[in-house]
């Protein structure tokens, strides 16, 4: 019994996270996006009933089937109630709108279609990218407001407000969730991929230091992108490229932080901790992505991630530099510009990289000084130290500050120990 209770404690949140979002998606497809709250209420009721029932009677043999049966019954009750209400109270102005769609179907196909429809509904350009990510976490991934606030390092009230606004925008939109027409899917795929990309990055480069939250964000983004590959209209080269990128990056998640939660630099990572299965999946999706002539930014970033996970090749940095050269022309960002300099240093030496870095005009950027500190190390210790100090002044994360302080200290020691010329 004690064991059962333990299981109960662990199973329920896990199931909730996974099934709540699917259930809401299916119900929502049935009711329409306007009534998303009804769908969510029914899903919540279902889980409440599960919590009560399972605590008393133990967990059923097939929890998912149990949940879907209950949800189906609750939906049927709701329709019945509505129909009675409309017939008797409203005198049936709209005759029996709901009657012939009484039964909600929880088949695999319908779940997958509904999830896809929900992804497309949530990734709505009417909302800001930030709001879309919040909404995706709540509606598509079943995160609570507290969990989202934790991931964004912001207050629950802020998140609540943001979600409220985003939801009303969603209701006003005329996006039809019931049908998935090819043209609608095609028109919005770009936005959807971008939101999933940002969702993944939110996890990968998250402000929070909580490793479990990071991992969960990344794996949710990966799971949603996987859903896109299961529909012929959304299984495009770009989708596969994004998925490959996510697989490659995820393969290093465990190696990126040590037991104390500090970031581990790429060169110092234990390669044995890289997830081989994910790397192989990344390779598979990258090959899929190369059907056709299209080269998107996801292709280029996946290519860069590929070279990072591949065993040393003597031209590795040249390949990475070539990819960054293309990426920077597709989309300028300071981060890409600085990463390109890092690749340039690997391919053509620190001196050339320093010269190019200094044309970038990014002296307000912390990573810029960090990069120059790294590039000057070994040739001009004073400049290296000066840049590391500038970087430390601007950096927000405590762990980052500490590792910079350590490196600066090492440089000062070396300098003092060096024989005087």
């Amino acid at each position: 019994m004690a064991k059962d209770q333990q299981l109960h404690k662990e199973l329920l949140p896990h199931l909730f996270r996974r099934e709540y979002a699917k259930m809401t998606a299916v119900l929502c497809r049935h009711f329409g996006l306007k009534h998303i709250e009804i769908a969510e209420d029914l899903a919540s009721d279902t889980f409440l009933k599960a919590a009560e029932n399972w605590a008393l009677n133990g967990i059923p043999a097939n929890p998912e089937a149990w949940l879907y049966t209950v949800a189906k019954n609750k939906a049927r009750d709701y329709f019945k109630h509505i129909t009675v209400f409309e017939k008797q109270v409203q005198n049936a102005i709209k005759p029996n709108e709901y009657q012939d769609e009484c039964d909600v179907e929880f088949s695999l196909q319908n779940i997958s279609d509904s999830q896809l429809a929900m992804i497309f509904a949530v990734c709505n350009p009417a909302n800001s990218a930030e709001a879309q990510i919040c909404l995706a976490l709540q509606v598509l991934c079943g995160f609570s407001i507290e969990e989202i606030a934790h991931a964004f390092l912001s207050r629950p009230e802020t998140i609540k407000k943001r979600l409220y606004r985003a939801r009303s925008n969603l209701r006003n939109d005329h996006f039809r969730i019931q049908t998935l027409s090819e043209s609608q899917l095609k028109a919005r795929l770009h936005t959807v991929l971008k939101t999933l990309y940002l969702l993944f990055n939110e996890g990968y480069f998250s402000a929070t230091h909580s490793q479990p939250i990071r991992k969960e964000l990344c794996s949710e983004a990966l799971g949603l992108t996987l859903v896109l590959t299961r529909n012929i209209h959304t299984n495009t080269p770009q989708t596969n490229a994004l998925l490959a990128l996510m697989c490659f990056q995820s393969s290093r998640l465990d190696a990126r932080t040590n037991a104390q939660g500090e970031a581990v630099l790429f060169e110092e990572q234990d390669k044995a901790m890289w997830d081989k299965t994910l790397i192989e999946k990344g390779n598979y999706y990258l090959v899929e992505a190369c059907q056709g002539n299209e080269i998107s930014k996801y292709h280029l970033e996946a290519g860069i991630a590929y070279w990072h996970t591949t065993p040393a090749d003597q031209n590795k940095w040249q390949h990475i530099l070539d990819l960054y050269n293309q990426l920077i022309r597709i989309e300028y960002s300071p981060v890409t510009a600085l990463n390109r300099i890092f690749a340039l240093a690997g391919a053509e030496g620190h001196e050339k990289a320093i010269r190019e870095a200094e044309t970038l005009n990014l002296s307000g950027n912390t990573y810029y000084h960090q990069l120059l500190g790294y590039l000057y190390t070994g040739t001009d210790t004073d400049k290296a130290i000066a840049h590391y100090r500038l970087a430390m002044a601007g950096i927000k994360s405590e762990a980052g500050k500490q590792s910079l302080a350590k490196e600066t200290e090492r440089l000062i020691q070396n300098k003092n120990n060096a024989p005087k010329a």
Partner: protein
């Protein structure tokens, strides 16, 4: 910020087919401009090869390519952003065309019509 067109001229057809190393050098130069967020328009390469180039003259006369009258032919163009013409010239100066192909680059401010 103003915009300047860089117009590339080559003397020799052979240089329209650069080696991989030369291509890499050109890519590095171009990406370096993009990395400063100064690439306004990637521009285009203009094919000078027979069958891809003709010149239309008055009097319904059409000749092959641009080569009959001028020694240098335009091989491509792009548009950059710069504070002034001096900066634009400085950027053009870094292009590997000078050591690779002996061509030249014309720098011209773009008159922007709204």
């Amino acid at each position: 910020m103003k915009e300047f067109a860089l117009i590339f001229r080559l003397k020799d057809m052979a240089h329209t087919k650069p080696s991989p190393e030369q291509l890499q050098e050109r890519m590095n130069w171009l990406a370096g401009i993009a990395a400063q967020n100064k690439l306004a328009d990637k521009g285009n390469t203009l094919l000078p090869a027979p069958g891809s180039a003709k010149t239309v003259h008055p009097g319904n006369i059409v000749t092959d390519g641009p080569y009959t009258e001028i020694k240098e032919f335009i091989s491509g163009y792009l548009v950059i952003r710069a504070e002034n013409i001096e900066e634009a010239v400085e950027i053009a100066r870094g292009n590997p065309i000078f050591k690779q192909a002996g061509g030249n680059i014309e720098v011209r401010e773009v008159l922007k019509r709204d």
